[in-house]
């Protein structure tokens, strides 16, 4: 592996990084620490259009007043988002997914060709079938905690931390 690590975030971790970088007590959350690492340029990020689609809908549903601001901030980066997967590409990855609704995201990650898929949804992204799938595509899957371990901010534990 050469150069900066390229990370593909799932929508959940992206939301956690953007909306909950601090705990309710004001301390930096795991997502906030990862956001800080990103801001310092520790790793690069590649985002799929499928992730942006979900993010926009979530914001539209829950923070409608903020949608326009978010869209205009993301607009200049539209060219960087990887394309949506085709139905055939989604069908090809469906056997690795516990829940078929995750298949478009798995397929998007494959298209993006990151070093690491960053997801805290353990039932979807960290199952043995999913891990084997990521391995086949030479992608590592990490949680927020796991990514901090990659950068020496935390120690690996025997039971994966969430």
């Amino acid at each position: 592996m050469s150069g900066k690590l390229l990370v593909f975030p799932d929508t959940g971790v992206l939301i956690a990084m953007i909306v909950y970088p601090r705990t309710r007590y004001g301390a930096l959350s795991l997502a906030g620490e990862v956001l800080e690492l990103y801001q310092t340029g520790a790793f690069g990020m590649v985002i799929g259009q499928s992730i942006v689609d979900e993010l926009e809908e979530v914001i539209d549903d829950r923070f409608a007043a903020q949608r326009g601001r978010m869209v205009s901030l993301l607009k200049p980066f539209a060219g960087q988002f990887t394309r949506r997967p085709t139905p055939a590409e989604i069908a090809a990855v469906s056997s690795a997914c516990n829940d078929p609704t995750d298949a478009p995201i798995f397929a998007s990650a494959v298209i993006a060709r990151p070093d690491i898929v960053l997801a805290n949804d353990f039932e979807a992204f960290h199952t043995p079938a999913a891990k084997s799938f990521w391995q086949q595509h030479r992608i590592t899957v990490e949680s927020l905690y796991g990514l901090l371990c990659v950068f020496g901010r935390r120690q690996r534990r025997e039971t994966p931390a969430r």
Binding site: R69, L73, P87, I90, A103
Partner: protein, 104 residues
């Protein structure tokens, strides 16, 4: 200044467009092409810009706090959105692809 010569082949259409652009600025086709190549080389050499996550956070984190919306609630909603997008955009077409594979 030391220069090197390269030869490129372009379509008559592109040639015409470049000629027009150069004429408009009263510069040679060579100067225009060098400018374009320099810009391209610079864009390729620059690292990609960082996504504006911090900027998004600056107004979305306070919005969540003001709405008293917990992380668990919002992530649960994100799962619901994923299901909705699946049903509206992908389910039928993907099943059409999975079906024939399963039958073989």
């Amino acid at each position: 200044m030391l220069v090197r010569r390269i030869t490129i082949r372009v379509s008559p259409d592109l040639h015409g467009k470049l000629d027009t652009l150069a004429a408009r600025r009263s510069i040679s086709l060579n100067t225009l092409t060098v400018e374009a190549l320099e810009k391209y080389a610079q864009a390729q050499a620059e690292p990609p810009e960082r996504l504006p996550l911090q900027e998004l956070s600056a107004f979305l984190a306070p919005a969540a706090e003001a709405a008293d919306l917990s992380e668990e609630e919002l992530l649960q909603h994100a799962r619901a959105v994923r299901r909705r997008i699946w049903q509206e955009r992908y389910e039928q077409t993907v099943r059409a692809h999975v079906g024939p594979q399963e039958r073989t």
